[in-house]
Amino acid sequence: MIDLLNGFATVLQPINLVFAALGVTIGTLVGVLPGIGPALTIALLLPITFNFDDPTGAFIMFAGIYYGAMYGGSTTSILLNTPGESASVATAIEGHLMARRGRARAALATSAIGSFVAGLISTVLLAFVAKPIGDLAVKFQAADYFALAVLAMVSVTALLGASLVRGLISLVLGLFLGLVGLDQVTGQTRFTFGAPVLTEGIGITIVIVGLFAIGEVLYVASRVRTGHDTIEPLEKARLRTGYMSREDWSRSWRPWLRGAAIGFPFGALPAGGAEVPTFLSYTFEKRRAERAGRDDFGRGAIEGVAGPEAANNASFSGVLVPLLTLGLPTSATAAVMLAAFQIFNLQPGPQLFQTSSELVWALIASLFVGNVLLLVLNLPLIQIWVKVLLVPRPLLYGGILVLATLGVYSLSGNVLQVFIAYGVGVLGYFMRRHDFPIAPVILGVILGPMMETQLRRALVISDGNFGAIVSRPLTLVILALAVLSLLLPYAPGVLGRLRGRRTEAKKLVFSDED
């Protein structure tokens, strides 16, 4: 508790508050643009944070950017019905219906306040859970880390996307990209095809910018002229009608709490991410309304916005649990954050709480501050964010390409890296075109090298004997869970129904950014 108070002391310094406010504003500004989710927002803005000397300020800004991007994403989903990431799809269903009935303000308010409430609750949970898990994780051995990496990659791959084969191909491509460069153990060059520029490997930020920013724009570009996806912003007049009424409050607060209760634990699982908890929350609220004899789901029910938004926000704190304690990113956004840690030469994991305790607690405290700022800034400023939605699409996507190129160039100072990012972008374009999920690529690039190093370390210890690795009970259990998660999507039941709803919603165009 003392640690957390110290964290607040750090964050509440005026300069850090400025960073947090700046982060929330920029995050919302970019996140509100159609088709751009938090992962892409953070990737685009990553270069800015590299210029910080002190990682604390950078991470405070990062937390702000993330919350802003998430909130901006729900604004877009509600007003335009174009969710920028799969976590907002559930929100978009009822939220857009509310907006069309002239209740956009209430929908936006319930999502902002719900995010705030859920964010506070889940950050408290994070503060209490992180340290014990970190202490527990100190006992983990190389083989366990290997198994955990396998579990995270496999479960995300299995849960995302339409086909397992495509998901696994995405994963393998990511693993391959992660292999390029110098072998971490022996220093041999691998897959460099004789090109010196590849010796230092393909940086995670280059892959992220390439896949998300460039690949995304190419893909959207190829559809712009087909007449799909035409966007008709709602008239401003509709936005003026009403904040939340007393009835809205009384119908919202329970879904907020339930959403937080669903979001945090699901986010903390190795299968991480926000899509499962948001859809669980949506389904749950819908079922409850039906049982209570109400039929307003499908016509803009406020519970259908309040629950999923709360779950979305809470799951982010959940995702931070494995990220901070085990160094295990379980969503694309977490992967970008891990990349940011590595840029500051910080290795998330059990030792992080010992070596950089101040930074971790400042990060956790900045989540609280980010939540508060989000509420303070966003409810009054919504009119401005709505204006951002009116940016013409050719300019918007042209701008994204400019910023993406700039980001890669300013990171590396090397035009060859820009070409690599373009190459990855072309790959991303074809993957999107043929319904390959993108998140497994990112996890493969990030977790692949860690998985390989830990596996080889474990194999050296056991004299090259696989049996010895698998015979550790903990390792065995984790690997068994990985196999189970591969089979799970085929099992009928809750998950099957969830997936059914997802395809029903038909809004998974930019489906797996997070």
Binding site: I169, V172, Q188, T189, R190, A221, R393, G413, R456
Partner: protein, 156 residues
């Protein structure tokens, strides 16, 4: 990903993507042998994991291609690769000229081209936005963040 290939894949695109994946996978697999290693094929050496990954790549790509061949359905939206191709050409051209011409000029020009390719017909607006955006980014990065961007031919 060559020009010819992009143009070809308008109809049986999935199948071709699958075949390209298989080909790239085989290429990657052959490169495993190019990894120098005193340990040879030891499971804890530098070749073992690459071998697994590349082998899995080839196997999965073959399965995918097989599925695609069986389906062989019409692509959902065909023939719009021209836009993506033009964008790609613009970007590559951009990366080539950004150092000699400088950041502002090359960025502004490629922004206008990009907007045009994406279907904008308001040239004046695009040019104004392009020049403002490129200059703003240039000065923000060089002056505020002290990141060096190519100055090029402009006397700045």
């Amino acid at each position: 990903m060559t020009t010819a290939e992009v143009e070809q894949r308008t109809r049986p695109g999935e199948l071709i993507f699958g075949l390209v994946l298989v080909a790239l996978g085989v290429l990657a697999l052959t490169q495993v042998w190019a990894i120098p290693g005193a340990e040879g094929w030891s499971v804890s050496g530098p070749r073992f994991v690459p071998l697994l990954v590349c082998a899995a790549w080839v196997v999965l790509a073959v399965i995918y291609t097989g599925q695609a061949a069986r389906r062989m359905r019409e692509p959902r939206e065909g023939g719009f690769d021209r836009t993506a191709l033009l964008l790609m050409v613009t970007l590559i051209g951009y990366a080539y000229v950004v150092i000699p011409l400088g950041y502002i000029i090359s960025t502004a020009v490629s922004f206008v081209l990009t907007a045009r390719i994406l279907g904008s017909h308001r040239l004046v607006r695009d040019i104004v936005v392009a020049v403002l955006l490129a200059s703003a980014v240039y000065f923000a990065f060089t002056e505020l963040l002290s990141i060096r961007l190519p100055r090029g031919v402009l006397p700045l």
